[in-house]
């Protein structure tokens, strides 16, 4: 590369680096809204531990879905005398009826936009 291009190249590189790392800067500068989770009242247990559900609820849902739709395995999960249906809409949302607090709080924070609600109803959303 001819030497006289060096200035231009370096400027270009600098701009490129700034643009590519923009999200990092942006998030550092922006005041962070840390999600506040809220446990459902009167419910003491879940089908999984808190840690497990936090890290793997999507896999759980995925497995449930496949079992229910494809394998006709709709066996209800029983735990402490309570029955849980393998269903987001009828299972999870039975204890966690508030989508805003239960789902969006973290999903907005993590910028993960699942498409569950394209099809599934949340409690009291039916008009």
């Amino acid at each position: 590369m001819p030497m006289y291009d060096r200035g231009k190249v370096l400027t270009g590189l600098a701009i490129f680096v700034i643009i590519m790392t923009f999200p990092v800067w942006y998030n550092l500068v922006r005041a962070q809204h840390v999600p506040k989770t809220e446990l459902p009242k009167d419910v003491k247990q879940c089908v999984g531990t808190v840690d497990y559900m936090r890290s793997s609820h999507m896999q759980v849902l995925d497995i449930w879905r496949n079992e229910v739709v494809r394998d006709e395995n709709r066996k209800v999960i029983e735990l402490g005398g309570k029955q849980y249906v393998k269903s987001l809409q009828l299972g999870c949302m039975a204890c966690h009826p508030d989508r805003k607090k239960f789902c969006d709080e973290c999903h907005t924070y993590a910028a993960v936009d699942p498409f569950c609600w394209d099809c599934h109803f949340q409690p009291k959303e039916t008009k």
């Binding site: 497990y52 739709v69 006709e72 066996k75 029983e78 099809c119």
Partner: protein, 287 residues
Amino acid sequence: MDVKRRKFLKIAGLSAVAGITAPTAFNSLLNGAAFASSTEHGAPPAAEGSHATGHGGHEEESNLFQYGMVIDIKKFAEHQGLAEKCVTACHSEHNVPDFGNPKDEIKWIWVDDYEHGFTGYSQNKSMTGLNDLPVLLTCNHCANPPCVRACPTKATFKNDHGVVVMDFHRCIGCRFCMAACPYGARSFNWRNPREKYANGNYKFYKNGINPNYPTRMRGVVEKCNFCPERLAVGKLPACVEATGNTKAMVFGNINDPKSEIAQVLSANFTIQRNPAAGTKPSVFYII
């Protein structure tokens, strides 16, 4: 393999927390406790010494579990409006949208006439009033379904009870299955099925809404699934339930000789739609 292992680990994890999973409605269904209308329906047919020949169009003897339906058109003619009632029951149970135009139309079950439902059955002069009979059409849950053969993702497949099911999460919307079905049983979500009117109501069939059943999203195919979610809790499919005790529709395992439907099939002359396509429909008609 990876999926299997992951699945196993997850299940193991879940069970560890959840304790022993309990036998459910589905099991009780299999054990024969569930169906009010046909208690003899239950026992797994494989156990029977099968003499299932002659049970309508599945010529070969089969002891596979195959849900099917007999639709008695004469009974529907006797009960004015019953057919429409079935359509409403199904479509509002499943939040089927109604955009009011044929181009975007979605239907799981619908009323048509003899001539269009039974193409290829020619007559010289058709019986008086034949074409006025209300003929209910839906997916035939074929024993040999071309739609399943065509699907590149197994998004439509035959389950263990012979039901041709749609997996709405997996469908890529290629519509190969629509081209493959010789009965026009499949519909496509050409637009968002959750569109609302200006007044905030969903554009659902007759405004019916069932909060316990999801809608679909645009870009996937849908059709009648024989209501697996209802069968699982011991209910009959929504349309069959809507016929009450008229016996206009009989539902059950056609390959179980002791089932009510098998007996209806052996006691009556029934026809299937377009049998020449070799798909072996599991929906039978008494005309």
